[in-house]
């Protein structure tokens, strides 16, 4: 259980957020300068707010009214900094074992999981970007902290390396079960790693909840929209190249293809604006995907309408962004069967 209720006043910036969550993995999303990293720094004890309370699993780390301010080194919170901050005068092993709590327990599992074994004797200055990132993650987790804070763990990486570190983080989450808060301006990363989202904008909490619910919240949508709302589905590759099946359903997507073999996990991403809706299947078209579903809800934030469609009968949901005038033309109402049209080129696979 994480409880944060703080106010921070700085010249030209004011942060005022209050949230409670029992989610094991929490994502904080928002534009740059929204105060995402500041929230992490306050939880870690690196920034002292003027007012408020920080409590983790009932342990009070900060309480301005009671005069409680547990020192950074006694908070038992692992932090992965955006700029990593590996200690340059130590080797990889020296960094991993720096924390006093990192020396107890059995680190082999974690070192193996992050594939750090071959790097242990290396100087941190000689590591590649992805390797440095893995060392920073391992260093924080080896402390067996009560909570792990990840500040933009993929910001400095792109393409393959980013997918790689996300995969590592996903395995760590599943294997260690440590509570995690991750900050990112990449919604896709947060959707992969976290079960609950905080949306922050301009030092304020705009929304909290599961992503499909947040998309349907007209007060949150404008903030989400600024970074590009995205649909994200988990699937498995099939024997047919480019065809991806959504597990436990009969739904299949035709994608541009990937380098993966049959029956491997894959993630599909596509923009809501690329999903068109139709009342019936369309004959004679170049569109690769026509997937039937049911309208579950929609929201109009003034800039556009986001329609949530449940695929098949019990499949995942996706969001389609349509013009307001289409709403009436399609006769959108909850429970109405609808067909989602999606070009195969609009799908990004990861």
């Amino acid at each position: 259980m994480i409880e944060v209720d703080v106010t921070l006043e700085r010249p030209g910036f004011r942060l005022e957020v209050a949230f409670t969550t029992s989610a094991t993995t929490l994502g904080i999303f928002g534009p740059s300068g929204a105060g995402k990293s500041t929230i992490l720094a306050i939880i870690a004890g690196l920034i002292r707010p003027e007012r408020g309370v920080v409590r983790i699993d009932g342990r009070t780390l900060f309480d301005a009214a009671e005069g409680i301010d547990v020192r950074v080194d006694r908070r038992r919170i692992g932090m992965v900094f955006q700029d990593l901050r590996l200690l340059p005068h130590l080797t990889v092993a020296g960094n991993l074992r720096y924390g006093p709590r990192a020396r107890g327990g059995d680190p082999d599992d974690l070192i193996g999981l992050l594939e750090l074994g071959p790097l242990l004797d290396r100087n941190v200055a000689d590591l590649s970007g992805g390797e440095r990132q893995r060392v920073a993650v391992g260093r924080a987790l080896l402390l067996r902290p009560d909570l792990v804070l990840l500040d933009e763990p993929t910001a400095s990486l792109d393409g393959r390396l980013r997918a790689e570190i996300l995969g590592h983080l996903e395995r760590l989450r599943d294997r260690t079960g440590r509570p995690m808060i991750q900050v990112s301006h990449r919604l896709g990363d947060l959707l992969q790693l976290t079960e609950e989202l905080l949306v922050v904008d301009d030092g304020r909490l705009v929304g909290q909840g599961r992503y499909p619910d947040l998309i349907q919240d007209a007060t949150v949508l404008p903030t989400l929209r600024r970074r590009g709302v995205v649909n994200r589905l988990r699937g498995r590759t099939t024997d047919t190249a480019g065809v991806v099946k959504i597990p436990d359903t009969a739904i299949e997507f035709v994608t541009p293809g990937s380098d993966r073999g049959p029956d491997e996990a894959i993630i599909l991403e596509f923009d809501p604006a690329d999903v068109a809706l139709a009342r019936h299947r369309v004959e004679g078209t170049s569109i690769g995907n026509q997937i039937e579903g049911v309208v579950t809800r929609w929201t109009d934030d003034g800039a556009g309408v986001f329609v949530e469609v449940r695929l098949g009968t019990d499949g995942p949901t996706l969001a389609a962004e349509v013009g307001r005038e289409s709403l009436a033309a399609l006769g959108i109402e909850v429970g109405r069967p609808i067909v989602c049209l999606l070009k195969r080129q609009a799908i990004r696979v990861r």
Binding site: R75, R85, L86, G99, P100, A125
Partner: protein, 231 residues
């Protein structure tokens, strides 16, 4: 080049005085450098000015002030003599104290600059890993500042080797007791026929100073390489 017994004794005494001075100032010098670099408190400017005073005062004035303090009739010297029978003035210890006071600002300045140049974000990272303030200082700040601290130490050592004005005031110029290389050169030049001896000591002074600089340069280069530069 053969040195006379008197010249040897001046050389050895100089090394002893400078060595003791550096050892004596190292811990307080690092402490003051760290405090000035990392702490904000009332009176900080005053402390800064006080430490740097010997750098701008005429050395003779510093020597005289020291004499007033540690001489047998001084407030500290008198107390020491009365209770412990210790006499500082006009002994090699007085020379070492003079060197300490004169070299101290150079060491503090170097330490302060070196610590200011280390990244406080690394210290914050170490703290999140569970290191308390003292451990952060010993395992992050000081190791990263080591090349600078080393350079400051060598500078203070070299300054001690060359100390003249304060030393002659508080320790005098007693052969075999307080006559360091600079004092010996001064005496030689005042003595008819002492020019050759003065020149030999000059050569020794140049060699010792040069070696000190060389060693410091090599050490700091190795340290920088080990830490992989700043990153």
């Amino acid at each position: 080049m053969m040195l006379t017994t008197e010249e040897w004794s001046a050389v050895l005494l100089s090394l002893k005085v400078a060595g003791v001075a550096v050892l004596a100032m190292l811990l307080p010098g690092i402490a003051c450098g760290w405090v000035l670099a990392r702490r904000r408190f009332p009176g900080r400017s005053l402390l800064d000015a006080l430490i740097h005073l010997p750098l701008v005062l005429p050395p003779v004035v510093v020597g005289y002030l020291l004499l007033l303090s540690i001489g047998r009739r001084g407030w500290l010297g008198g107390w020491l003599y009365e209770h412990f029978g210790v006499d500082l003035a006009f002994t090699w210890k007085a020379a070492a104290i003079a060197s300490t006071v004169m070299g101290f600002p150079l060491l503090v300045r170097a330490v302060r600059l070196a610590i200011e140049a280390t990244d406080p974000r690394l210290e914050a990272a170490a703290a999140t890993l569970g290191a308390g303030p003292l451990r952060v200082l010993l395992t992050v700040t000081l190791p990263l500042a080591l090349p600078g601290i080393l350079a400051g130490t060598v500078l203070a050592f070299a300054r001690s080797l060359g100390e003249f004005g304060a030393t002659i005031m508080v320790a005098g110029n007693i052969e075999g007791v307080t006559r360091t290389i600079p004092l010996a050169i001064f005496s030689d030049v005042q003595t008819p026929g002492g020019d050759a001896s003065a020149m030999r000591l000059v050569v020794i002074a140049v060699i010792v100073s040069f070696l000190a600089l060389l060693v410091s340069e090599l050490l700091s280069r190795r340290l920088v390489r080990r830490s992989g530069g700043a990153s």
